[in-house]
Symmetry: C2
Subunit: 558 residues, 2 copies
Amino acid sequence: MLQWLREYRRAALPGDISAGIVVAMMMIPQGMAYALVAGLPPVVGIYASIFPPLLYALFGTSSTQSVGPMAIVSLMTASTLAPLATPGTGLHGVLAAQLALMSGLVLLACGLLRIGFLANFFSRPVMSGFTIGSAIVIAWGQLRTLVGGPIALDASPHWPSIALGFGSLALLVMAREWLAPLLRCLRVKPVVADIAAKLAPMFVVLGATALVPLLALDRMGVATTGAVPAGLPGLNLATSSGHWQALLQPALLIGFMVFLISMSGAQALALKRGGEKLVSNRELVGLGAANVGSALSGGFPVTGSISRSAVNFAAGANTQLASMITAGLLALALVAPTGWLALLPLPTLAATIIVAVLGMLDWSTLRTAWRYDRADALALLATAGGVLVLGVEAGVLVGVALSMGALIWRASRPHIAVLGRIHGTEHFRNVDRYSAETTPGLLMLRVDAGLFFGNVDAVNERIDEELVEHASTAHLVLVLSAVNAIDTSALFGLGELNASLRQRGVTLHLAEVKGPVMDRLRDSDLLGQLSGQVFLSAANAWDRLAGSSAAGRPQPAG
Amino acid sequence: MLQWLREYRRAALPGDISAGIVVAMMMIPQGMAYALVAGLPPVVGIYASIFPPLLYALFGTSSTQSVGPMAIVSLMTASTLAPLATPGTGLHGVLAAQLALMSGLVLLACGLLRIGFLANFFSRPVMSGFTIGSAIVIAWGQLRTLVGGPIALDASPHWPSIALGFGSLALLVMAREWLAPLLRCLRVKPVVADIAAKLAPMFVVLGATALVPLLALDRMGVATTGAVPAGLPGLNLATSSGHWQALLQPALLIGFMVFLISMSGAQALALKRGGEKLVSNRELVGLGAANVGSALSGGFPVTGSISRSAVNFAAGANTQLASMITAGLLALALVAPTGWLALLPLPTLAATIIVAVLGMLDWSTLRTAWRYDRADALALLATAGGVLVLGVEAGVLVGVALSMGALIWRASRPHIAVLGRIHGTEHFRNVDRYSAETTPGLLMLRVDAGLFFGNVDAVNERIDEELVEHASTAHLVLVLSAVNAIDTSALFGLGELNASLRQRGVTLHLAEVKGPVMDRLRDSDLLGQLSGQVFLSAANAWDRLAGSSAAGRPQPAG
């Protein structure tokens, strides 16, 4: 902990300061926008942007990760709280902080129990589908705020809100598409141009806020943030045990997604930096502390944001000091006069949200998966559909189920090759791919998968089919060169295969068992009960068994 | 369908008839006992023993499977219905049939969608733990019926019930332990002796029923079955949509367990028979039809019972005709005068349940797993604990989660070996296990696991660690001889590794890519973007790269 601070070199300071300022300027509109997504007053987004980056800097392992409000986690917060409290009420805010506290405790517990491996339950296509589904849900949810009224044919349009909302939207889209190229044409350095483009939301929000008193938009009925109390509120918890119970399962799901989202962003950055080492169990502790910190200051669940972290990195962040500077600047924003925040128009904030989440619609994963592995592409689409139809929480479970389902489905179709000898050599190959010789009475099968509960029945079934096709088999050799592991279920499966084959007069042999697998098998009864032998190589098995079987002469096959 | 009937040979008939009779004699007390476990009147167990074996014989694929009431499924039924209706009421019976109908429809749908691979979601240790936990819950639940009153220190004991219950228990245990050996000593054939022992519950129940009028036990307060209407009731469904909704999730879980329990029993028998082929999607249809049939006759969820199926097989069943004969005999039992059933004493029925489920406590899986793979043993114990603490339904989910958790946990610790060349050969081996030579600037790593979302981050992390240890590396060769598959997540992972290494001045090469894996990779952009080459063998890579790297001379290692 804080090793980076003890080793701090002054050369890192300018980069950390500039990154700290840039991220703070990005975080103010983003934090307020994502508080809106969570159904909370925008200022709560600033409450949730002070302690979290500070605590993550103390406990986390990524040096450039920017922890704070994030769109998907805000959506999950909104969907958790919807049945429990009305947005805008005191209870709603209390429950949001309580949810952050519980998610934080879940993350801390996982970190102390060292079960960070749980993040591996989501495949990337499923994560991509989850993100796409969530982005669409968030954008759709903000449309109402963007136009200042309900989305319906018979609703009378509120033109000032619509003009401000779509005007902001147009400016933000143009800034995203054209600002950086334009600045580069004007000979601005590419890094600076890119960062300026990322700060466009800040300037659009400031401009729109200035317009409100100038054009008296608030008196025309454009919704604004409203009065913001200075300073930080403290922790407030609901006393009803029903609320604690209702928040437990959502806290588990949100904790899981907080970790998953933060890790995938941090990993992408770590690969870019080269050699930075993330320790997943310490990441859990860092994110847990950040969420507890958010709760203590009246915030809501937070996580690492890949877009902000990328800006932090690009703006020169060298160490966690950058995040600490960001936190300090956000605290100052609350201590400074906050009157101007009251006039911030919500249609503009909605526009920043829509542009941000539409930027999360990344179709390249779908394109790649569609070409490379159709099942993964379908899992992606099904997860996105699950989020849209069943909601974001069920979407997480759909995603886990589909990741695991695809895994088990693939395992249930193991690849098993009939081996033959390449004439005159000691090499054995798949008779379907090579011209290799086999010998009657001897069947050699290579199982191309680790043996575990997910494929043990399918493997036994496939072996049975091969035995029906090769009815004269007296010796069956399983070549285990591609078997990296055998779990307890598969150990039983092999034992049953051995007993069943013995009854049918077929001897079972093993060959090319890997070192670690053999070490394990020595702790079991299988080797003692095996009707045949364990051969070091397929060639050894052939030499011994091809001679001893009834009709001994090799014949070509394949 | 019914292929077995078209091919029926008369030689199979004697075996089928004797098995049909024996199983019917076993099924009458068992069916009534498991109805009691489900909280239903004992006669419902006979309703559920007529259509199910008949329909399974028509649609299923195992020739000796005995489908009907089964302890664990009855426990799940009881636990589902407990919050919805009081045992003994009309609604309770209606909901039990409705649950069978819905579970049956779930199974039929799974069969038509051909998703039988779902049965692979449970590892064997977890299944064993689930069975142990359920057996303990069932036995505990019957203690009250066994002693004819509540289990409490201040409860006044009901001596007639206690005497009858424990007397039955003692007889049943003695029959199970000693009857078969005794009969064998008397020169009875071993098969016949074993079957006679299995029929002991029938004789104990008949004897106890005869005692009731003889000793006027019913007038002393010993609970009995009570009046049984002759004939079969029809299908009765609850009209409240709330009930349909409440039963949906339990129906999914029960359908899943019905399939899992039946398949594991059928597979064990198929292995014994040798060469019998089970088609999992047709098994789903057979079990689905059986449950729908149970519902139509006022029954409750049913499945294949491994203990009854084993008796069926041992008693000579050759085809599905045996099950049809069983079904016919049970139908006769209902048409015949059913007055005697009214006097059947419940303490004796409870005793048969306790003896039956204690027979399910198989500790050998735990013993084997404890020695072979501690994680599997812990998953077994945790699943048993989950059933005991959280209940049988949550236990199923705990089991799936633990199976998957153990899988992902193992995947998160991939085995990666640094390879070196065995001097003077073309063989490459793990430098930790063999004395093999390496060359500076060239690092060869063999990944011993298929690459998928569960291990892609862990693999990248391990590679990073090896690169830190071998800091002078200019060429990294991943030897993929043990990689049987690369999913979309791992494809992205390799792409990111390639980009990250390129930035650090390390060239990434692949070697010994398997045929099917290479076929897949050709559909992706990875090979085009790879900074290095794809080599056919590790030796090729060594020959090309050991020369080209900075400090070319081989040096011994390991």
